[in-house]
Symmetry: C2
Subunit: 94 residues, 2 copies
Amino acid sequence: MTVEVDVTIKPKRGVADPEGENTKKALHLLGFRNVRSVKSMKTFRIELELDAETTGDAEEEAVTSAVEEMCEKLLSNPVIHDYEILIVGRQIGN
Amino acid sequence: MTVEVDVTIKPKRGVADPEGENTKKALHLLGFRNVRSVKSMKTFRIELELDAETTGDAEEEAVTSAVEEMCEKLLSNPVIHDYEILIVGRQIGN
């Protein structure tokens, strides 16, 4: 079984986000005056293979713990980043 | 009223995604052998101010058309990128 997970890496509250700030300024200059804030984030869409027997809560737990470990070891910098994990799809078989 | 929108910018099908490819390789090297693919994407979380009278379908239409215009004018490169627009929250008042 294949599970598709979106991992969103975003700056922690209080950490500067110059890309978001400048995107907001550029949108204002282009005439989008109703933009109040822009935050820039990075998303990885990861396809994971799981045993077909892993379903329901066990599946969610297996996926979440694996992806949290990936975030801590590689995808995010815990000093400045928070992350969100969201299961977006599943596919039975290959 | 404030509406929060997530705009995800991702490579079109067939366009190379070296960051995703290399992230996958690094995850394999770290022992995450069950990672089948990784796609890297950029997400902007945009807060938009709308008239309080704009609700329901009209709201969704107003938000989607404004954000599509932002994508075409600034956020994405239509030659290599697709985008997804998702309303993630709304807040009444200021």
